[in-house]
C-alpha cells in the first residue's frame, strides 16, 4: 500500500521523536540505574519512587506537570528561553521530552536488573590484574550489562513512539510538528467517515512496534548471545 505524504510525515516524526528521546535519555537512565543498583545513599528510595512516577501517574498528569515546569511561565521553561532561546512547548522537542520522561522508568528497570546481575567477582578479578575503576567500568561492567542496556533502549523506544497522553497535554496536536502516530490516530477518530485513515494508521503503528520489538530481540541476542550459545 502506498503511503501519502501526510502519513510519511507522521511516521518520520514519530521515529525522530522516538530515537531522539531514547538517545538523550540513555545516559541519564543508565546513571540512575547504576545508582539504584549499586549506590547506598540517603534518598535512594525517593529517587526510585520519583523515577517510577511516570509509570503509575496518569500520563495526562505527567503532561500537565511538564506544562507547568517547561511552559512559557514555568521555572525551567522561562530559564531555557532566557538563556538559550529554547522553547519546548508545542515543538517536536517538547514531544521528545514527554516521550523520554514516559520511557525513563522502563529503561531504568531493564538496565538496573542487568547491572544487578553483573558478577562482582569478575570486577574484583579485573582489579587484581591492575585495572583502574574506570577501565573496569568500560571493559567489564558495561559490556556485561549490555543486553539490559539494549533491552532498555528498545523498550523505551517502543514506549516513546506509543506516547499519547503526556504528549498531547504538553505539546498539543500540531501537524508536522507534534502529530505523532497515536495523536494522528486520535485526530482521525474525531472526524466521522474516516475509518480507512484510522485503519491505515493503526496498522502502521502495529507494524512499527512489531519491527522495534523484533529488532530488540535480535540486538539482545547479538549483544549477549553469541558467546553463550556456543
Amino acid at each position: 500500500m502506498g503511503l501519502s505524504p501526510e502519513e510519511w510525515t507522521i511516521i518520520a516524526l514519530s521515529l525522530k521523536i522516538g530515537v531522539i528521546a531514547v538517545l538523550a535519555m540513555l545516559p541519564v537512565a543508565f546513571a540512575i540505574a547504576w545508582l539504584l543498583a549499586r549506590g547506598r545513599f540517603p534518598g535512594k528510595l525517593l529517587l526510585d519512587t520519583l523515577v517510577h512516577l511516570p509509570l503509575v501517574v496518569p500520563p495526562v498528569v505527567t503532561g500537565w506537570l511538564l506544562l507547568i515546569l517547561f511552559g512559557m511561565n514555568g521555572p525551567v521553561g522561562r530559564w531555557l528561553n532566557t538563556w538559550f532561546g529554547i522553547t519546548l512547548l508545542f515543538r517536536w522537542t517538547g514531544a521528545a521530552l514527554a516521550a523520554a520522561i514516559m520511557a525513563l522508568p522502563l529503561m531504568v528497570r531493564a538496565m538496573r536488573l542487568s547491572i544487578g546481575a553483573i558478577d562482582r567477582r569478575l570486577e574484583e578479578a579485573a582489579s587484581t590484574l591492575g585495572a583502574s575503576r574506570l577501565r573496569i567500568f568500560f571493559t567489564i561492567s558495561v559490556p556485561l550489562a549490555l543486553p539490559g542496556i539494549v533491552a532498555g533502549a528498545m523498550l523505551g523506544f517502543a514506549r516513546s513512539i506509543g506516547e499519547f497522553g503526556a504528549t498531547i497535554t504538553f505539546v498539543s496536536d500540531i501537524p508536522g510538528e507534534t502529530r505523532t502516530l497515536p495523536i494522528a490516530i486520535y485526530a482521525a477518530l474525531q472526524m466521522p467517515g474516516n475509518e480507512d485513515a484510522v485503519t491505515r494508521l493503526a496498522l502502521l503503528s502495529v507494524g512499527l512496534s512489531l519491527g522495534a520489538l523484533l529488532l530488540s530481540e535480535w540486538l539482545v541476542r547479538r549483544s549477549g548471545g553469541g558467546r553463550d550459545g556456543l
Binding site: 582489579s127 587484581t128 591492575g130
Partner: protein
C-alpha cells in the same frame, strides 16, 4: 623476605588470624575449610581490608594498619588465581590473557618467559580463540593462571585452583605451577585443604586453625 604477613579480621562471631614471615618462594596455607584461608588471600590481594596487622610482599608494604597504608588491589600487583577461574565471559581467551597488560603491549611475557613460552607450558595455544564459557574446568584454570602471570605480578596467589578438577588434571597442573615457579621465580602463596597437593609442591607450610 618474600612474604611477611600478619592479618586479623573479625567477621561476626568468627575471628580470622594469620601470621607468618618467610623467605621461601612457595608458601602453602593449609587448614580445614571455613578457617579463613580465602579471606587471608583476599586481604593480601586487597579485596578485603584487615582490621589490624600488615601485609609485606617482596619488601613492599601493601598494607599497614598502624601506618595507615592500604594500597588498592589494582596497585598491589598480586596475580590472583581464584577457586573458580573468573575468566571474563565476553572476551576470548586471547583477550583474557592480555587483560592485565597495557593496551599497546601485545607480546610482553613475564620475567624471562615470553608470552609464547608461557602459553606453551600451560598448553593453551589451541584455546586462544575460544570463549571462556566453552572451556572445561582444567582449561579455564590454566588460562586463569596464564592471565594472572601475564599481568606481571610480584607474587602469585592461588586459592585451591585444583578444587574442581579430577585427579589426573590436578597433578598435571601442579607440575605446571612448580615449573612456572622455577622459571619465573615469582613467589607463590598457595591455599589448599589437601595436604597431598602441598607435599607435592614443596615450600613452607603454614597451618591455620
Amino acid at each position: 623476605m618474600a612474604f611477611d604477613i600478619d592479618v586479623r579480621l573479625r567477621r561476626g562471631e568468627q575471628a580470622i588470624g594469620c601470621s607468618f614471615a618467610t623467605d621461601s618462594g612457595i608458601v602453602a596455607l593449609f587448614g580445614p575449610s571455613g578457617v579463613g584461608k580465602t579471606s587471608t588471600l583476599n586481604m593480601v590481594a586487597g579485596l578485603v581490608r584487615p582490621d589490624a596487622g600488615h601485609v609485606i610482599v617482596g619488601g613492599q608494604k601493601l598494607f599497614d594498619a598502624t601506618a595507615k597504608i592500604d594500597l588498592p588491589p589494582a596497585r598491589r600487583r598480586c596475580g590472583y588465581v581464584f577457586q573458580q577461574a573468573r575468566l571474563f565471559p565476553h572476551m576470548k581467551v586471547r583477550r583474557n590473557l592480555r587483560y592485565g597488560r597495557p593496551r599497546g603491549d601485545r607480546e610482553g611475557g613475564v620475567g624471562p618467559l615470553s608470552q609464547d613460552a608461557l602459553i606453551n607450558i600451560l598448553g593453551i595455544g589451541a584455546l586462544l580463540d575460544r570463549w571462556p564459557p566453552s572451556l572445561s574446568g582444567g582449561e579455564a584454570q590454566r588460562v586463569a593462571i596464564g592471565r594472572a602471570l601475564l599481568s606481571d605480578p610480584q607474587c602469585l596467589l592461588l586459592d585451591e585452583p585444583l578444587a574442581s578438577l579430577d585427579e589426573a588434571r590436578r597433578l598435571e597442573i601442579l607440575e605446571m605451577i612448580g615449573q612456572l615457579h622455577r622459571l619465573t621465580a615469582i613467589p607463590i602463596l598457595y591455599v589448599s585443604h589437601d595436604r597431598r597437593e602441598l607435599d607435592h609442591l614443596g615450600g613452607d607450610m603454614v597451618e591455620m586453625a
